[in-house]
C-alpha cells in the first residue's frame, strides 16, 4: 500500500469514526450544549405531579426548565408484605417504593420533607440526583411532626434512586424508604407507548410484639439474608389483577430501581430482549440485552417492543429470589399472534 492510499484509508477511517460518534450522540438524546447549571428555570414554582408505582408522571416533552415544588411525607405504617403477612413499613408518601418524581435537566426543585406526627423516628432524604452534601440528607433531617426543605438544580440527566439516610440507614432502607427520581435530558426521552415504575428491595423480617405483625430483623440484614426480595414492596404487586400491560406492537419502557439495602439485582424479563438499556440509569445506551445488573442504590431504564402476546415474567434472575422470596412480576401483552416471530408447534408424534 502506497502512502497516498494509506492516507485516504486513514481519512476514511477518521470520518467514519466521527460519523459513528454522531450516531451515538443521536441515541443519547442530548441536544443543547448549554450547561444545565446555567439553564434558567422559568416562572413561579408549581406543584410537581408525583405517582406511586407502577405509574409514572407525564413525560417532560419539549418544555424548558421550570421551578417545581415536590412534597414528600415520611411515614411509619402497617402494610401487607405477602399474602396475609403484615409488616411495619417506613415510607415516602405511604407507598413502597416512594412517589416517582419526574423533572428535566435545568429544573429547579424545592423539596419539602414532612415527617408524620406519629412517626417514632426522624427521617430525611438523600436523592442521588442531587449535587450537594449528602444529597440533601443533612438539610432534610426531620423530627416527628416537623417539615424541612431544600432546593436543588437537576444538572445530570438520568434515573436516580432516593432514600432515607437517617441512622441506621440500612434499617430505614430495609423498611422501604426508597424511590426513584427521573431527570430527563433537554427535549425529553424518546416517546414510547407505555412506561412503568418498578423497584426491587430486600426485606428482613421477624415477629414483632404485636400478633401477626412482622418487623425489621437487624441480624438478618447484617447477614444479608432476606426473607423477601420484592418488586414494589409487596409479594404479588405485579401479579394477577396488578400485572402491567401492553399491546402487541407497542414499545414499553420500564424505570427499574433497586433500593436494596443489600442485594444487587439481575433484572430480566422472561421471553423478551431489551432493545435498549440505559446502563445503570445513565446516558450510555446498550442494545439487545437479556439481563441487566442493577446495583443496590442504582437503576436502569429498559425498553423493548412487544411483538408476541402472552404473559412475560419479570424476575431477579438470581432465581431463588424470584421463586422462593417473591421477586416476580408479570407483563401481560394482548393482541394478535405473530407466527413469524413465535409459533408453538403441535406435538411431534413418536
Amino acid at each position: 500500500m502506497n502512502t497516498k492510499n494509506f492516507m485516504l484509508l486513514a481519512a476514511t477511517a477518521v470520518v467514519s469514526l466521527l460519523m459513528s460518534c454522531n450516531t451515538n450522540e443521536g441515541t443519547k438524546t442530548t441536544s443543547t450544549t448549554q450547561s444545565p447549571i446555567d439553564m434558567v428555570a422559568e416562572g413561579e414554582p408549581e406543584m410537581a405531579e408525583v405517582t406511586g408505582a407502577p405509574n409514572v408522571p407525564a413525560p417532560v416533552g419539549n418544555r424548558g426548565p421550570k421551578k417545581w415544588i415536590v412534597k414528600l411525607e415520611t411515614t411509619e405504617i402497617e402494610g401487607t408484605i405477602a399474602d396475609s403477612t403484615k409488616y411495619t413499613f417506613w415510607t415516602f408518601n405511604n407507598t413502597v417504593p416512594g412517589s416517582f418524581i419526574r423533572v428535566r435537566e435545568g429544573d429547579e426543585v424545592e423539596l419539602f420533607l414532612k415527617n408524620a406526627e406519629n412517626s417514632v423516628l426522624p427521617h430525611n432524604i438523600d436523592l442521588h440526583a442531587v449535587t450537594g452534601p449528602g444529597g440533601g440528607a443533612a438539610a432534610t433531617t426531620s423530627a416527628p411532626g416537623k417539615e424541612t426543605s431544600f432546593t436543588f438544580k437537576a444538572i445530570n440527566p438520568g434515573l436516580y434512586v432516593y432514600h432515607c439516610a437517617a441512622p441506621p440507614v440500612p434499617m430505614h432502607i430495609g423498611n422501604g424508604m426508597y424511590g426513584l427520581i427521573l431527570v430527563e435530558p433537554a427535549g425529553g426521552l424518546p416517546k414510547v407507548d407505555r412506561e412503568y415504575y418498578i423497584m426491587q428491595g430486600d426485606f428482613y423480617t421477624k415477629a414483632s410484639s404485636k400478633k401477626g405483625l412482622m418487623e425489621f430483623d437487624n441480624d438478618k440484614a447484617v447477614a444479608e439474608n432476606p426473607d423477601y426480595v420484592l418488586f414494589n414492596g409487596k409479594k404479588g404487586s405485579l401479579l394477577g389483577a396488578n400485572m402491567i400491560e401492553a399491546k402487541v406492537g407497542e414499545t414499553v419502557r420500564l424505570f427499574v430501581g433497586n433500593g436494596g439495602p443489600n442485594l444487587t439485582s439481575s433484572f430480566h424479563v422472561i421471553g423478551e430482549i431489551f432493545d435498549n438499556v440505559y446502563l445503570e440509569g445513565g446516558s450510555t445506551i446498550s442494545h439487545n440485552i437479556q439481563t441487566t445488573m442493577i446495583p443496590a442504590g442504582g437503576s436502569a431504564i429498559v425498553e423493548f417492543k412487544v411483538d408476541v402476546p402472552g404473559e412475560y415474567v419479570l424476575v431477579d434472575h438470581s432465581l431463588s429470589r424470584a421463586f422462593n422470596k417473591g421477586c416476580i412480576g408479570k407483563l401481560k401483552v394482548t393482541g394478535e399472534p405473530n407466527p413469524k416471530v413465535f409459533k408453538a408447534n403441535t406435538l411431534v408424534k413418536e
Binding site: 406526627e117 430525611n124 449528602g134 433531617t141 426531620s142 423530627a143 411532626g145 437517617a166 441512622p167
Partner: protein, 281 residues
C-alpha cells in the same frame, strides 16, 4: 473539600441559631429573676435514684476518650402529664396561651383541652410530651432540679435489667431496637415495665427524652459522613466514629437529637429531671 466547607458552614449556622436561642433564654431568665420567679409546686413525689457514675465511653467520639461521669441523682421515671399540669397551674407563663413563642413551637402541649386541662383521654400518669427544651428546663428549675446531661443520660442507658453496662450484649441493643419500632408508646403509664440495673424506669420504652446538652457532640442527620472533628462538634459523627457500630438503638437516639431544636415540641419527646449530689460512695 468545598462541599465539606459548605456543609460545615450550614451546620455552623444551625448551631449558632440554637446558641442564640439559648442566649435569649438566658436573658429572659434574667428578666424572670427581676419580675416573676418560677414557682415550685407540690405534686412531684418522684423518687430520685443515685447513680454513682464512673468512666464511660461515649457512643460518638474517639475510642480513647473516656468521659468521667460524676455521681448524680436522676428521676426514676419521666415527668408525667399530671406533674406538668401542676407546673403550668403554678406557672401561668408556661401555659399554652401565654407562653413566649420563642420558647416553644406551635405544637406545644398539643391537644390540651385548655391551658389547665389535659388532652381528652390522656392518662395523667403517662409521660408529658409536646414540651420544648426550654419548658423542660423551666420545669426542672421550678423544683430545684435540672435536666440530665447527655453523658449522664447515656450512662444510665448503658444498663439493662441486670448489669450497669450491657452494651456488649447483643440482646441489649436488639431489645431496645424492638421497642423503638413500636408506635404510640408515649400514651402508656410510667413505671409499668421493669426498671434497669440502677432502678430507673422507662429509659427506652415510652419516649425520647430531652437532655441538657442534646445539641452538643452528635452525628449529623446524615449518618454516613464518617468524619469526627473534635474542634467543630457540629461536623462530627458517622459510622466510622461510632464506638459500637452495631448499637443501632444508640444511632437512633443520636439521630433524634440532631433533628431537634430547643423550641421543638414533639409527640413522643418528653423528659425527666436530674440533680447534683455531694454523696460519693
Amino acid at each position: 473539600m468545598y462541599r465539606l466547607l459548605t456543609f460545615c458552614l450550614i451546620m455552623f449556622f444551625v448551631f449558632s441559631c440554637t446558641k442564640s436561642a439559648e442566649n435569649i433564654e438566658t436573658n429572659s431568665e434574667n428578666v424572670h429573676a427581676h419580675n416573676t420567679e418560677i414557682n415550685s409546686f407540690s405534686s412531684t413525689d418522684v423518687k430520685m435514684v443515685y447513680i454513682k457514675g464512673g468512666l464511660y465511653k461515649p457512643f460518638y467520639g474517639s475510642d480513647t476518650i473516656l468521659v468521667d461521669v460524676k455521681p448524680f441523682l436522676i428521676d426514676e421515671r419521666p415527668v408525667t402529664n399530671a406533674e406538668f399540669l401542676a407546673f403550668v397551674k403554678a406557672n401561668p407563663q408556661w401555659q399554652r396561651s401565654s407562653v413566649k413563642k420563642i420558647f416553644v413551637d406551635a405544637a406545644y402541649l398539643k391537644d390540651w383541652k385548655s391551658d389547665t386541662e389535659l388532652p381528652l383521654n390522656a392518662d395523667p400518669e403517662a409521660p408529658v410530651c409536646f414540651v420544648s427544651w426550654f419548658a423542660a428546663k423551666a420545669f426542672a428549675k421550678s423544683i430545684g432540679k435540672r435536666l440530665p446531661t447527655l453523658d449522664e443520660w447515656e450512662f444510665v442507658a448503658m444498663a439493662d435489667t441486670d448489669t450497669p453496662n450491657a452494651r456488649n450484649k447483643p440482646s441489649y441493643s436488639d431489645a431496645i431496637l424492638d421497642l423503638y419500632l413500636e408506635k404510640d408508646r408515649q400514651y402508656k403509664k410510667v413505671k409499668q415495665s421493669k426498671p434497669n440495673y440502677w432502678g430507673v424506669y422507662n429509659v427506652f420504652d415510652l419516649i425520647w427524652e430531652w437532655t441538657d446538652d442534646f445539641n452538643s457532640a452528635l452525628t449529623t442527620g446524615d449518618s454516613r459522613a464518617g468524619e469526627y472533628d473534635d474542634k467543630g462538634l457540629f461536623c462530627a459523627g458517622g459510622a466510622t466514629s461510632a464506638t459500637d457500630v452495631l448499637n443501632y438503638a444508640a444511632y437512633m437516639r443520636y439521630s433524634m437529637r440532631t433533628a431537634i431544636k430547643a423550641n421543638y415540641t414533639i409527640a413522643n419527646l418528653g423528659f425527666r429531671c436530674a440533680k447534683d449530689t455531694l454523696i460519693t460512695n
